[in-house]
């Protein structure tokens, strides 16, 4: 990967206080984000994707939550950073797009002003300048007749348009990193495709890196350069997108891919993964996927497997003691 990473997450563990005991919701999360790169975090609900994102912005902490490990943004440590410093990074350097465009906008404030507010807070420019800039971004995310709609309220927009406004808000200060927490989940498929294309273009034009959270592997294929698969609070496999789809090595990733219907193959029976994700209190000390894994052995129950290349290429790491063998790629 060229260049120093803009974001480097190491050994990130987020713990919540549940019934008096600290429970680790995520454990040992490691990943780097290169400039201009889009990394997808994939996993089912509750696997720790959103928590990881929230901790990158320093939004967790305080009573009932504990963040351990290291998150470095261009060399600066986010974990433990005072709130006043974090406020300067949030929105300006690292911005976030929320999942639900229907509730992410203030219902009693004109949308244009909501975009302009972030600009004037972080860039300290005049109202007129902020407005001009906000209008520029409304046009950039392709909101038709932006000047006339500047004063409109969120309820006067459709879901897709609202998500564009949320994106414009996040983009408005030209952050280095965009955290997109399932930004297309609430939208229908055609709008979803448009928004994805929009995000891809904006990232390329503004030289932004993006962490894209989703539970749809189809979306991953459409937008990401690399993908990290999460299960029960851990990254189980991380690889370039093409590599992961062509040659998954972790049994969970393999099982996920087998569970997706494909139009380019003869119909085969889709396979579900037996069992269920364990509750946070039931995590064992070993591999968290072991109870559902067809290849689990005694050793898997004992210690958590580390994320490592395990015989594959350096960019493709897997946290499994018995990964699928490296396949020679037909090329």
């Amino acid at each position: 990967m060229p260049g120093d990473p803009v974001l480097s997450v190491q050994g990130l563990s987020v713990q919540f206080r549940i019934g008096g005991a600290w429970r680790a919701a995520t454990r040992g999360i490691d990943f780097d984000l290169a400039p201009n790169e889009t990394l997808a975090l994939v996993g089912e609900s509750g696997c720790g994707k959103s928590i990881t994102c929230a901790s990158i912005l320093g939004l967790l902490g305080g009573e009932g939550a504990r963040v351990e490990g290291s998150i470095r943004y261009r060399g600066r440590e986010i974990v433990g950073m005072p709130e006043s410093e974090l406020e300067k990074i949030r929105g300006k350097e690292i911005a976030m797009i929320f999942q639900e465009p229907m509730t992410a906008l203030n219902p009693v404030m004109p949308v244009g002003e909501q975009i302009a507010e972030a600009i004037s807070v972080h860039l300290g420019c005049s109202r007129a300048e902020a407005k001009t800039r906000a209008l520029g971004f409304m046009e950039r995310v392709r909101i038709p007749a932006a000047p006339e709609r500047y004063r409109d309220y969120p309820h006067q927009f459709s879901g897709g348009m609202r998500q564009r406004i949320v994106i414009a808000m996040a983009m408005a200060c030209q952050p280095r990193i965009l955290l997109a927490d399932e930004p297309t989940t609430a939208l229908d498929v055609t709008i979803q495709a448009q928004i994805l294309a929009e995000l891809r273009d904006l990232c390329a034009n503004l030289e932004m890196s993006m962490v894209f959270i989703t539970h749809s592997l189809g979306v991953v294929a459409a937008i990401a350069d690399r993908v990290a698969v999460m299960y029960a609070g851990e990254i189980v496999e991380i690889a370039p997108v093409a590599e992961l789809f062509a040659a998954p090595r972790h049994p969970y990733t393999q099982a996920l891919l087998q569970a997706i219907p494909r139009v380019d193959r003869e119909t085969v029976t889709l396979r579900a993964i037996p069992g269920q994700v364990p509750a946070i209190a039931e995590f064992g000390s070993g591999c968290r996927f072991a109870p559902r894994c067809p290849r689990a052995s005694e050793a898997c129950q004992a210690v958590p497997p580390e994320l490592a290349a395990r015989g594959g290429p350096e960019g493709h790491r897997v946290a499994c003691l018995a990964p699928a063998p490296v396949r020679e790629r037909a090329s």
């Binding site: 912005l57 939004l59 009573e63 974090l86 406020e87 300067k88 990074i89 949030r90 929105g91 300006k92 911005a95 976030m96 929320f98 639900e100 509730t103 992410a104 906008l105 203030n106 219902p107 009693v108 404030m109 507010e117 972030a118 807070v121 972080h122 006339e148 004063r151 409109d152 309820h155 006067q156 949320v166 808000m169 996040a170």
Partner: protein, 290 residues
């Protein structure tokens, strides 16, 4: 869909106008209340006599063409005293409720948004103040500080503050976990900015309803304090003070107490009309979105 244009002040004015004309109850209340305000503002033009002018030959006079509502035990014109008394009632009531509204709403939003020890502290203080009926609390403060206009305002404001804390805190707690308030944090907005620019504009309808209802109470408390001799000092005409004077002569001159009581009744009635109407108009379940 209508496209609101113009300055922020213009939009606020339009919004207030829409609310003020939302239903007949509010309209009636506002007309009645504005009438009282007009009487207070133009008191010197409306009064037929100097409210302090004593005429010892006309003591306890019955209503006549000269003294429309009669005269009191010093021979002062009741009508003129009621007209001037409106000033005291409104100034004290409005100042007290405005103070309580600003302080109370801010504390309520602060406490609801920040939570933790701030919430504990504000909550406990609110509960202590709420334990006293507003009249008793006002009584204690005035007895302690001595009766003067400023002290009366302070006393009534203090008695009313907890109401605004409560009415601001509850919706703030509900808003705190909404995505768009969370998004404020993710956008790097300070807690103060989030509270003032994003929380407050979402909850002010509740606060406004509360303010009109408590303005009525504030005016009643002021009159009650004046009635027991802790109001603005005589000879300044206050409605509560006039009722007290009338009360002393109630067996011979009933109207002395009746007319100022009617004045209080009219104001309280007008404010309660507005409050009830606002509650209907601003209830989100009944609100018709344009």
């Amino acid at each position: 869909m209508p496209r609101p244009a113009g300055s922020a002040a213009g939009r606020l004015a339009r919004k207030l106008w829409r609310i003020a004309t939302a239903n007949i109850t509010i309209e009636a209340g506002i007309v009645l209340f504005l009438l009282v305000v007009a009487v207070a503002v133009f008191a010197p033009l409306i009064a037929t006599h100097d409210p302090l002018d004593q005429d010892l030959f006309e003591r306890l006079g019955t209503p006549s063409t000269e003294h429309w509502l009669g005269t009191d035990s010093f021979g002062r014109d009741i009508f003129s005293r009621i007209v001037f008394g409106a000033r005291i009632s409104l100034v004290i009531g409005l100042s007290a409720v405005l103070t309580a509204m600003v302080v109370g709403s801010f504390l309520g939003v602060l406490s609801g948004y920040l939570g933790g020890w701030v919430d504990q502290l504000v909550g406990q203080a609110t509960n202590i103040l709420l334990a006293f009926p507003s009249l008793i609390l006002g009584l204690m403060v005035v007895a302690f500080l001595g009766p003067s206009m400023i002290n009366l305002i302070a006393a009534i404001a203090l008695a009313t503050v907890p109401q605004f804390v409560r009415v601001a805190r509850a919706p703030t707690v509900a808003l705190r976990d909404r995505d768009y308030i969370q998004a404020c944090r993710a956008l790097g907005f300070s807690p103060l900015r989030t509270m003032l620019r994003h929380v407050l504009p979402n909850i002010w309808p509740e606060i406004l309803v509360m303010a009109t209802l408590w303005l009525a109470t504030a005016i009643r408390v002021e009159a009650s304090l004046a009635f027991i001799g802790l109001g603005v000092k005589p000879p300044t005409p206050t409605w509560g003070g006039m009722i007290r004077e009338g009360f002393e002569n109630i067996l011979t001159s009933l109207w002395l107490a009746i007319f100022p009581s009617l004045a209080i009744l009219v104001v309280v009635f007008a404010l309660n009309l507005i409050g009830d109407g606002l509650r209907d108009a601003l209830d989100p379940r009944l609100r018709k979105d344009e």
